[in-house]
Symmetry: C2
Subunit: 799 residues, 2 copies
Amino acid sequence: MNSEILTGTTQSVSTIPLSSEELRNMHAYWRAANYISVGQIYLMDNPLLQEPLELSHIKPRLLGHWGTTPGLNFIYVHMNRIIKSQDLNAIYIAGPGHGGPGLVANTYLEGTYSEVYPNISQNREGLKKLFKQFSFPGGIPSHVAPETPGSIHEGGELGYAVSHAFGAVFDNPDLLVCCVVGDGEAETGPMATSWHSNKFLNPSTDGAVLPILHLNGYKIANPAILARLTHDELENLFIGYGYTPYFVEGSDPEAMHQLMAATMDKAIGVIKSIQARARTTGVVERPRWPMIILRSPKGWTGPKEVDGLKTEGSWRSHQVPLSEMATKPGHVKLLEEWMKSYQPETLFDATGRLLPEIAELAPLGERRMGANPHANGGVLLKQLLMPDFREYAIDVPKPGQVLGEATRVMGKMLRDVMKLNRDKRNFRVMGPDETASNRLGALFEVTDRTWMAEHFDDDDHLAPDGRVMEILSEHTCQGWLEGYLLTGRHGLFSCYEAFIHIVDSMFNQHAKWLKVTKEIPWRRSVASLNYLLTSHVWRQDHNGFSHQDPGFIDHVVNKKGDVIKVYLPPDANTLLFVTDKILRSRNLVNVIVAGKQPDLQWLDMDSAIKHCTTGIGIWEWAGNDADGEPDVVMGCAGDVPTLETLAAVALLRQYLPDLKIRVVNVVDLMTLQPKEEHPDGLPGKDFDILFTTDKPIIFAYHGYPWLIHRLTYRRTNHNNLHVRGYKEEGTTTTPFDMAVRNDLDRFHLVSDVIDRVPKLGYRAAHLKQIMRDKLIEHKAYITTYGEDMPEIRNWKWPE
Amino acid sequence: MNSEILTGTTQSVSTIPLSSEELRNMHAYWRAANYISVGQIYLMDNPLLQEPLELSHIKPRLLGHWGTTPGLNFIYVHMNRIIKSQDLNAIYIAGPGHGGPGLVANTYLEGTYSEVYPNISQNREGLKKLFKQFSFPGGIPSHVAPETPGSIHEGGELGYAVSHAFGAVFDNPDLLVCCVVGDGEAETGPMATSWHSNKFLNPSTDGAVLPILHLNGYKIANPAILARLTHDELENLFIGYGYTPYFVEGSDPEAMHQLMAATMDKAIGVIKSIQARARTTGVVERPRWPMIILRSPKGWTGPKEVDGLKTEGSWRSHQVPLSEMATKPGHVKLLEEWMKSYQPETLFDATGRLLPEIAELAPLGERRMGANPHANGGVLLKQLLMPDFREYAIDVPKPGQVLGEATRVMGKMLRDVMKLNRDKRNFRVMGPDETASNRLGALFEVTDRTWMAEHFDDDDHLAPDGRVMEILSEHTCQGWLEGYLLTGRHGLFSCYEAFIHIVDSMFNQHAKWLKVTKEIPWRRSVASLNYLLTSHVWRQDHNGFSHQDPGFIDHVVNKKGDVIKVYLPPDANTLLFVTDKILRSRNLVNVIVAGKQPDLQWLDMDSAIKHCTTGIGIWEWAGNDADGEPDVVMGCAGDVPTLETLAAVALLRQYLPDLKIRVVNVVDLMTLQPKEEHPDGLPGKDFDILFTTDKPIIFAYHGYPWLIHRLTYRRTNHNNLHVRGYKEEGTTTTPFDMAVRNDLDRFHLVSDVIDRVPKLGYRAAHLKQIMRDKLIEHKAYITTYGEDMPEIRNWKWPE
């Protein structure tokens, strides 16, 4: 075996791999990319500087981030060389996504850009449009974005480059992701732990990530921490993370080109030998993967000094190093000198076309990183083979008699999804060490947990080719899954409900990505990002207050209606239907909230299908309003609220048999919104038929109650809507006491009905007193015995 | 100098520091802590096992986390020893907060627990109550929580132990925080980057953190990654992070006690010599701080095997290693054997009191970690010295004529807060590298950015004693600030609005902490957690869609009304008032959203004070309804919505002079809620006076529009409320175009009024056409010239 692969020693490489012609052409290509990057930031006319530069050629608002861009361009050019020389299948993730001009420049130079945007042609006119559109109204955004060919990563919010990169290469054995990490981004928490993704990468069946930590020294105004570690510390850190770091440091372009080319050759060589060894010998060990630490000046090749202040190699290069063009004519001159320093006349012919000897450095066709289909994953997406979800149905002869654990049932279905698609290797389940705890354990009948690190005998279902990925980092789970989906595969993220807030911000960015991709014709649909939130607020009674937060739903519904859906299946069969639906869907974020505890089952499979198909409906068997308008509507959404609502209904029907009650259960929460706000929204007339236009509605909801008001405030009968939900009361207590503390329990719901339905008479007043007594009895019982009263624990729907 | 301090070599220590008597007593103390921990998880009676254990003594619901607890107890006992022997001032942060029973056990053993909870006495009866209350309805939560004496850290959500610890020791030169990090928690992103906090710790003026990474090998079901690194990798990793790791590994109690004691002596010795050197020589260099890596079995001293399966040293010890007591009588026997293995009869006398020779191991008085006042920071809290905010007022002779940058003005006030409290060293400003970008740069006139790493000449305001803390990790900023506040100091976190979502989950936990502490009599009030959110959604026009998200407000208002406030000051003088208010407040989370761009100023200081004192009010100078009821109410909250509203009002007054308009501006968003929902809520009658009971309201809001509906749905005139706000449309464009894309601009607002006020006649129809034309003109202008029309850019309120 190659001992180099496993050694922890840092490598630095000193051969001179580039011929002088290669060097000249690569440098020219880099100059062209830098020129086009600067042009995008500054110019709206005179793109080839064929006339003297004037203020009128310069954009009035100068926006963009120059500092990181020359480094991104440098790496891109070197990737081009090695892709071409070794026929690599590679994509590029730009962690410093603010360097948008660089990626646009490179995809333009390689021709991809003009293919997807034919109006941006390979000539002077195209170049002018390319320059002007950047950060310009009606043009393209300033960062790497869905609009950028070859990207699966919006680098506006920092921290996720490495987890996206690993997500992309799982089950893509031939793919290489060149993943550039900025030294600013490297300070974020999600990035700091995502380096450990190498403990989950199987060299036999997965591709490889080549991380390039780009130290350019500064963030907006501060030095970057990693740029100010001692060399030894930096080396130790990445050895500690399990990599062999190769250093490429300097500022002289010629020396840097040679060093970078040699280091790239070396790193790719190590990756190939790691893969070859695993794939030929079948020995699967965790290797020490290579990474590159590139230290180059911030704003490299930019103005050395502006107004007497150091600019290249300083934080002053972060955004636009030269500004105030209108008031400082010297700056226009300086800009012209800067752009001319790239010698555009030696790069482009008079029509604005890149000279052929330079252009040929780029790879061809789908080998171009901007054209690689993995970066437009919908192109590669294959339908998931799905079992018939009805086969997993729980037998529910009558509502509310048998117990079932919804997520355990779902787990069996997921097991078979996993099994059916095993050969296609395009489905994974992610979660922070909770797959078994969330009762999806059936998955382990057909697969294991991905694990490339050390094994002990007593470990539970760990294997290098496991397809359940668990790391105690919601950020990494989310990042992996996003990378996996955006490259055309399928997956599910199961998480404790409260802690999915950890990735609120990542969800935001993914939802924004989806919203924008829908408007881009050449972007193809990808599989939806699916969340199963379980161990939810009502059954974190044992872990207590810190584990009780149902607010992710509120967060999700702030995003565009056509990219998000929220489901609250009340039992196992409805959960099966919804699981089937989300796994078949495209370009959405689907949130399912479902319990894992043994709970009463309500609907047989036929009823579940009927109910979930509309997503909302009357449970006729539960109410007694069949022959006309009800006196009250009892709405419910979520498993625990449904249970408490039905228990309340049973009490009401027992004590007040004349009261006409309608029960409406909501599975698809978005049905509550008007049709104009969400595609699933119920038309106004249909809503009014369900909820009446004038009767009191007592609605028991899984989450924060005001969300129901926010969804329904335009509905006719909104003024009569009274919602119970989680109002931020909780601790370690009994399950039923959680409901009581938040006034969501059956006894409170009965009282709510009595308070709101007029003229119920003395029997209602008496029932209300009974409810008060029950609550007192409950409190006394649990503080004595430590569990809920038997009548609560053993309650069933009256047959 | 002591070369050992700066060397990167791992240390392991082999002396035998404990006498046999010390060893015996420490081991006894540990046994007592373990016994009391197990007792809490299992027993509700028979606490000293003076009778044979029966099912009836055991709780019906077994809840708790045993796995981490013996390790936490082991560390606590060793901290006790060294606190006592060296008179240390120390607190304990239990990252694995699930090990609640351990912290409760230790604070009970040292006597603190009974002092704050006198009903939990130091005898059999007290012990019985202590056992029963744990995770029992009406008792205490299962995790370390605000209820736990000595804690500033709820360990339910993982990842923040180290940032909390560093926050606690900044400006507390005599304080030591023993910070235990679980190997599960170590996988989280926030934890993985927070190790770099050592680049911000000044050995002269700050205290020290002793991190103890506790490798017990397993999480819920998986191995922990850090526990499966090679020894070399682990060592490299922490050397890379800048520490000297000392390893304590094993399972034999006697050997482990000696090793731990020797290692603790060593680590504390190194800390003291680092501090002494910095404090006597004045040479401030970044030292290599010590840390301990403790590798011990999960569920150490627990059952070796249960039902034939390995338990001690396995993931099976994670929660309750023995359960199903009712159905498996053998388990009751096993539990009794387990508990008796601690030999309770050698620890407690017959009355249940800890034997004096064991008890005397604990420190006394405030040296006990449970009684240290730093862990109940309100006790130490000193009022911040505040300048008169009126001194920073912008001169506003007339509304809407002069420009001002609100946050730049605020920066001057913060500068003087910093200056006034410099000697008290109890105020810091945190942010992810955005203090200058957010225009709070005046701070750098009196202080610098904290920076202990390498310096270069061209760096901008870096110093070891800087009091502005910048790291590109919102998680670390938040964690530091929480630790700083909870130990009795003051601070502010300034952040780009969109990216504050990164800490959604941390905010949740802090708000929950505050909610609970308010209910605990012995917990004293701490300074509020203050956010300044700037670079907000409307002025991230240059960074684009990824940087546009105003949803943090929605997230915040889900928490209890009495712990959160949200302010949207429309200009500089109102921002000054609000800044003064939040810095004086206690036990709140305050969110301010304010712009940093040059914007029109509306209120002189007297008007600002009057307006902000109520938090909502009519701007009489802007409307024309002085002599009666208006035809329309124009509501606004936020700087950009206020500007657009006033521009719309000016247009309406110009074109439709007969239309009676009222302008209501909202600074304190919570005034919109009913009084019952939030203490700042406006009483219904007052609300109706402002907004009328029947006139159309056009409300321009900073964030997602539906939040205003959710806050006001109970208000009389809610049916006539029409809200404009951010509806998730954005890209890189002009500032005004951001408003246009979301229908929040003046032209849309004018049209909204025309659509909703009846009988405006032909002139209104004509005006609406003008508005349509203006929108077309706007689009054409910006796509040609790249900036907003001069009439937009130069608009002022008509004098």
